[in-house]
């Protein structure tokens, strides 16, 4: 995507990306990529015409959802969603692993969460941003405090480290509320 991409194309793709957020990652990627290919290189007028043909992003997402739901007969209605066990293991590794194996356990937990199917791409990205951001901020604050001769720098880092299990609990609660579906 270059700077010459018309605003209408950028806005349409962004809305499409949002509407498809709850779909499986592979399907989400295929639809966005296919439509981006179709709009790439078009000027604003041509893009607007093609967007009219493509239809509302919400309509496209609804069609994809309906067709995905149509695959359900292969499993019983009471069957757990695919990948639920892995998702539970991932969040347990993040919460418990953070304490049992500091740093390594936390990072392993985040990597597991990134591979799990119970969370959307947005939730996974937010988890990384929140944890890494808080830890970096804490390290920066402790460095400043140490250079100023202030005490308590270790406490700042330790408290900040709690962001890993806290994020794990938030992810677990969100996944549990929607039955471990993304």
């Amino acid at each position: 995507m270059t700077d010459t991409t018309p605003e209408i194309t950028t806005a349409y793709l962004a809305q499409l990306d949002t509407e498809l957020d709850q779909l499986p990652a592979d399907l989400h990627r295929d639809i966005v990529t296919g439509i981006r290919e179709e709009l790439e290189g078009l000027d604003a007028e041509a893009a607007a015409a093609r967007i009219r043909q493509l239809g509302d992003p919400a309509f496209i997402a609804a069609g994809a959802r309906a067709e995905t739901v149509g695959e359900a007969p292969l499993t019983s209605p009471d069957a757990p969603p695919p990948g639920r066990t892995f998702s539970i293991v991932a969040v347990v590794v993040l919460i418990v692993g953070s304490f049992l194996v500091p740093v390594v356990g936390a990072i392993a937990g985040l990597l597991f969460v990134s591979q799990a199917r119970a969370w959307s791409r947005r939730e996974k990205a937010a988890s990384w941003l929140a944890t890494v951001g808080v830890v970096l901020l804490a390290l920066a604050a402790s460095t400043v405090m140490a250079s100023a001769g202030l005490g308590g720098t270790h406490l700042v880092v330790l408290v900040a480290y709690l962001v890993f299990p806290v994020v794990g609990v938030v992810l677990a609660v969100r996944a549990q509320r929607r039955g471990w579906h993304a």
């Binding site: 592979d26 399907l27 295929d30 639809i31 990529t33 296919g34 439509i35 290919e37 179709e38 790439e40 290189g41 043909q53 493509l54 239809g55 309509f59 496209i60 997402a61 609804a62 069609g63 994809a64 309906a66 067709e67 995905t68 149509g70 695959e71």
Partner: protein, 111 residues
Amino acid sequence: MTADVGAQLRKGVVEYCILGLLDREPMYGWQLSEQLVEAGLVASIGTLYPILGRLRAQGLATAFDQPSATGPVRKYYRLTPLGRDQLGAFRLQWAPFTASVHRLIGEDTRD
């Protein structure tokens, strides 16, 4: 018995219609979507991609990237040998099937 007969019929044949289109030539998503929407077989391009995913998962179609003459690299879909076999089997059954159904339901002779 569902009221939306059309939806049930479309669901039963749309995958084979996609195989039929791909049997003519490799096609990209929008190309397929345009034809299928026009024929009333899918509601939108959003309906198409989950079906393409299933066809790929079943080994009936495969995807490859190809640069276009004027635009970006596109993802094209084409039939696999297994997909061609499946399409052949469907073609063999389709004509006798529709003939049988037609014979059973007959024409609507009411005014």
